[in-house]
Point group: C2
DNA sequence: GATATCCGCTTGCACTATGCAAGCAGTATC
DNA sequence: GATACTGCTTGCATAGTGCAAGCGGATATC
């Protein structure tokens, strides 16, 4: 049988799934950092996650339906992690969380630029970004046109790093 | 000296402060549930928090600047917990988190009504609600006029319970 | 004015999660 | 054929969680 939940409150349920020190950080790295493999997530982690914790979180996120795992066609032993639609829809949560951290916690300016841009862009920009994530992770059809939100976020970040 | 942070990323910093099983649930109870004392938070907790954990979280949230503690003027030994401005500004985070849980997790309809209402109301309603929280917790001047957002949320919840 | 109850916690203890370091078998590279 | 990279696992010490019971002081009840 399925695991019992503490309550049916939507906030509580979200906390049960996401409320720990690492889950959202791993999702952030896959979503904004473009990390797709285990070693990438392990070695390029800003915060220095431990290998056993990463392994455990990837398993839990998979069984919770937030990420999927597939063999990388290029390298046989390499596993490719992708976000699911459920995880893509965490964008508004991560934006608000980033915005709050930016306002009240000692966030570094370079790393705050992206959060600020996403905050100022509003729901419309979030949706645009989510659509890009669907292209990358879920194989959705790309929408031709303006420079991607991901590129704009990267550009702003690089400029912030350069001028710091 | 102050504790070191894992990184300056705003999302990571928020996770460091809020990323555990109970912090956001306690804040939710104070914010939406109107719980202001220890016993209330302990006994009326939907999820059944343990007393030592509640004690620890209240201390941590206090030292993180999210809540304050004061003697209740009515009862000498009773302590009154209040939200700070920093916690009030968690409203958008909690709304998005509730909305996500409502969409993807087995949330009960009664408890989802408030999340839905806040989602549909958008940033304008959130700001209105935040202003009410400032009146309740920070002693701000009340704005006379329409029925409060808190009352509207309560009404929708009661109706949902009645019709279930 | 004695008794019982409520107040915000604390303590003890078992269990689980976390963090660190090392290791491992199966590719891929040179 | 040696070396390094792949996604992990294992062992172990420490920290956090969950449960039950208790505690001194303040308050309500009779």
């Amino acid at each position: 049988m399925a695991e019992a939940h503490r309550s049916g409150c939507p906030i509580n349920l979200s906390v049960e799934v996401l409320g720990d020190s690492w889950s959202l950080v791993v999702i952030r790295d896959i979503m904004f950092g473009g990390r797709r493999h285990y070693r990438q997530l392990l070695n390029e982690s800003e915060e220095g996650i431990a290998s056993n914790i990463l392994s455990d979180r990837l398993k839990r996120l998979t069984s919770d339906g937030l990420i999927t795992k597939a063999q990388d066609p290029a390298h046989r032993q390499r596993q490719l992690y992708s976000l699911t639609e459920q995880a893509v829809q965490l964008v508004p949560v991560l934006v608000q969380l980033g915005n709050w951290g930016r306002k009240f916690l000692p966030a570094s300016p370079e790393l705050s630029v992206r959060a600020q841009l996403l905050d100022e862009g509003g729901p419309q920009l979030w949706e645009e970004f989510m659509q890009e994530l669907r292209v990358i992770h879920l194989g959705a059809d790309p929408a031709a046109g303006a420079p991607s939100v991901m590129e704009r976020l990267e550009k702003a970040y690089r400029e912030a790093v350069a001028s710091s």
